[in-house]
């Protein structure tokens, strides 16, 4: 079993203290940030025009997607490059059931729509279970590559199974029921689901299981010595993350009115990675802040230039090179410095 080891520079005591301090500071920062984002999200539809609301829906869905990724990366310490696959599975599960219900027309009942959304949960969980079963045997770079390979495999299945998934054309005409077609209503609907999911994610991160994951991230071997079933814990976490990604995907199809296999591809799997990194992977609120920044930039930068890849690539480059902890760690650094000076 290959195990990730880190150079231990600090003595155990100082390491522990600094870790605890860091944990407190981070929890301390994430709380207010999430609260502020939550309050702000309530008033987004009041902004002039329909477009901010549409961008808002996108931000909410992608926040959940990035948050699910951070369960694997930030807490468990593994880099998944296949999270898009579960996002896509969720999107396709919902889209396919919606299409089945609305065969021949674009109308769908509320119960049917909610059922279609719910279907995403077992489908993406099952997908994550199968993939995770193999994946949790690996760590580090092999984890990343195998997750990417499975993601591509699922992509090719969806891409080439014409009779069932519609192949690369995707599925069009997935409409939510009448009231939810108004972006404002759909926004609040999405907000409710994302809020519940965020609360669950928060609870998971604060639970003993959440701390087991952090322990796994920091030292797998020691975790095993303590008596934790590593693979079981990793698998459970992977399935949880896949399910949250699936829920995010489920909301995506009815929002865009269509789904396509690109949702499962490795470039799609890259976006939650970018978002988490921009926001700060060490913070619960990191992926949410990252999703906000990434999506708003994406929505408005393309109005002025076609060089969006260059723009986002440069931003990521700068963050990786100069602010490797993400935006929140900069703020956190400032705050703790102030606090430090006050304390002394």
């Amino acid at each position: 079993m290959p195990v990730e080891t880190k150079p231990v520079a600090l003595s155990n005591e100082t390491e522990k203290n600094s870790c605890i301090a860091a944990l407190h500071a981070r929890a301390g920062l994430s709380g207010p940030v999430i609260a502020a984002l939550g309050l702000f999200s309530l008033v987004v539809p009041l902004l002039p025009g329909e477009f901010p609301t549409i961008v808002g829906v996108e931000i909410l869905i992608l926040s959940l997607f990035a948050g699910s990724f951070n369960l694997i990366y930030g807490y468990m310490g593994q880099m998944s490059f296949g999270q898009g696959a579960f996002f896509g599975l969720g999107a396709y599960a919902t889209a396919l059931l919606c299409r089945w219900y609305q065969a021949g027309s674009t109308d769908i009942g509320y119960m049917q729509f909610f059922l279609a959304l719910l279907l995403a949960i077992p489908v993406s969980a099952l997908g994550a279970l199968v993939v995770g079963f193999f994946l949790v045997r690996l760590t580090g770079i092999y984890f990343s590559i195998l997750s990417m390979a499975f993601g591509e495999l699922l992509f090719y299945i969806v891409f080439s199974w014409y009779s069932f998934t519609g192949g690369d054309d995707g599925i069009q005409g997935i409409y939510p029921p009448a009231l939810l077609r108004d972006p404002h209503y759909y926004y609040y609907f999405t907000l409710a689901i994302v809020a519940v999911a965020t609360f669950l994610l928060w609870r998971i991160s604060r639970s003993p299981f959440g701390y087991t994951l952090r322990m796994l991230r920091d030292n797998q071997r020691r975790t095993a010595f303590v008596g934790v079933n590593i693979r079981w814990a990793m698998l459970l976490n992977f399935v949880l993350a896949g399910t949250f990604a699936g829920v995010a995907g489920a909301l995506w199809g009815p929002f865009q009115r269509s789904v396509s296999p690109t949702l499962l591809g490795w470039m799609q799997s890259g976006s939650p990675v970018f978002m988490t990194l921009i926001g700060g992977a060490d913070f619960f609120a990191g992926p949410f802040v990252g999703a906000l920044i990434y999506t708003v930039l994406n929505a408005y930068v393309t109005r002025f230039t076609v060089f969006w890849p260059l723009t986002i690539g440069t931003i990521i480059l700068i963050i990786v090179l100069f602010f490797p902890g993400g935006i929140l760690s900069i703020i956190d650094g400032r705050l703790s410095r102030n606090r430090g000076s006050r304390d002394s």
Binding site: G49, F51, S105, G173, V306
Partner: protein, 438 residues
């Protein structure tokens, strides 16, 4: 020898410079997404509200190669209309360009952004059919017109039909049936008996191959299909497929390959000697490819394209397009199929608005459906049950001619298959395919 070499190299230098200039131009028009207005200043003073149009084409990924000329010609056509004051002589056209990155969800988002932020009333584009169909849902909901030509899945006008979307080129189904018409003729002429197919393993490739095989079976039941080969999208090495085809020794090969993969295949197949013993009819060769692959293209293969300028130089509108394009980008530059079709789309919008007497979307849409419009391929009707332009497909043998620095289809033997001969025969059948929309 030496002299001709020097002359050649000088010509190359000029070529290169021209190319550099036109490239810079392209970056200027597309690099800054924003607005591409070409409104004469005097016209602006007395004009009413501008008519905003979104141009949604990929400049990222493998589709980008085919976006260049449409992006270059559209501002010229817009400027031409604006020199008359714009639509109805008072609504100058404003073009807003966006990159759809060949991704359906990006296309959908950009379409929404164009509609809600830039207040466009029409969207022109896109390249990939999957993107077009994602955008179709958005424009239907917002009641915005969509004029498409490059993305030509039959679903756009049949299964996913919306009255707001107009198709200005032959669909993939029409193209495949047109190929069957030509191939049936060749089968009789040359006594071909068996064939193989090589398709790209994605929706367009599958669809094109299926329609071809089905229709050939009807037209010429005794011709035997030996094997179907499928290559993945984005294949870089066709050698294994080429040797597999050559081992089969069919009389002809039908290829459903498009884009850069098509070029890769042609280049590798030519080097491997595939065309020495096996005919290759029906390869999709838009003018873009004829120009870009001027040197490498194997001569004698039979290609199909959608709107070649060289077949329509007798039509006034085509003369105008070619002149506009050459004046702006240099003598060696010609608009390709896609540029001409999109130019037609913009001109059709102008005619629709004139006929309706207003630029209101509903009125323009109704005036265009079933109308006969002036295009660079002559006067053509728009089918009233699915907004499909009755446009022909062109099949011909690739030959060199003295007039152009690149090969064209042999004008003497070129087959022009009319749109109404190959589309879904009756409007009742079309309506049976179309799904209900609320």
């Amino acid at each position: 020898m030496g002299d001709s070499d020097r002359e050649g190299s000088w010509k190359n230098t000029v070529d290169l410079m021209n190319r550099a200039v036109s490239r810079r131009d392209f970056i200027i028009t597309s690099g800054a997404a924003g607005v591409m207005t070409m409104v004469p200043r005097f016209a602006r003073a007395q004009s009413a509200e501008p008519y905003r149009i979104g141009v949604l084409l990929p400049t990222t990924g493998s589709g980008a190669n085919y976006s260049e000329r449409p992006i270059k010609i559209l501002p010229l056509i817009a400027a031409d209309i604006n020199s008359r004051g714009g639509l109805l002589g008072k609504h100058p056209i404003e073009l807003h360009f966006r990159d759809d990155q060949t991704k359906p969800d990006v296309g959908a988002r950009e379409a929404r952004s164009l509609i809600l932020n830039e207040k466009v009333k029409t969207i022109i584009g896109t390249w990939s059919s999957s993107v077009a169909m994602a955008v179709q849902e958005i424009i239907h909901e917002h009641k915005v017109l969509m004029l498409t030509a490059t993305s030509n899945s039959s679903k756009i006008v049949n299964e996913n039909y919306t009255p707001y979307c107009f198709m200005f080129g032959p669909t993939s189904g029409m193209q495949s049936r047109a190929t069957v018409v030509a191939v049936t003729r060749l089968i009789k002429e040359k006594g071909w008996k068996k064939y193989a197919t090589l398709g790209l393993d994605y929706e367009w490739g599958r669809d094109a191959q299926r329609v071809f095989v089905e229709n050939l079976k009807k037209a010429s039941p005794e011709t035997e299909l030996m094997k179907e080969l499928w290559a993945k999208l984005g294949e870089t090495d066709f050698t294994s497929y080429i040797s597999a085809v050559m081992a089969l020794k069919p009389n002809f090969l039908f290829g459903a390959i498009a884009g850069k993969d098509n070029e890769t295949f042609l280049q590798q197949a030519k080097g491997a000697g595939l065309f020495k013993g096996i005919a290759y009819p029906g390869v999709f060769l838009p003018v873009t490819e004829l120009m870009q692959q001027a040197k490498t293209l194997p001569r004698g293969i039979i290609g199909i394209n959608r709107c070649p300028f060289f077949a329509n130089m007798d039509k006034p509108l085509m003369q105008k397009y070619v002149k506009l394009y050459k004046d702006k980008f240099g003598k060696e530059e010609f608009p390709d199929d896609f540029a001409c079709m999109y130019a037609d789309a913009l001109n059709a919008l102008d005619q629709g608005a004139t006929k309706a007497g207003t630029v209101e979307t509903e009125a323009v849409r109704k005036s265009l459906t079933g109308a006969t419009i002036e295009t660079c391929q002559g006067k053509l009707p728009i089918r009233d049950c699915n907004n499909q332009l009755d446009c022909p497909s062109y099949l011909g043998e690739v030959v060199d001619v003295p007039e152009y620095p690149f090969p064209i289809f042999n004008p003497k033997t070129m087959i022009v298959v009319q749109g109404h001969d190959v589309w879904v025969p009756t409007c009742d059948e079309v309506r049976a395919l179309q799904k209900k929309r609320s």
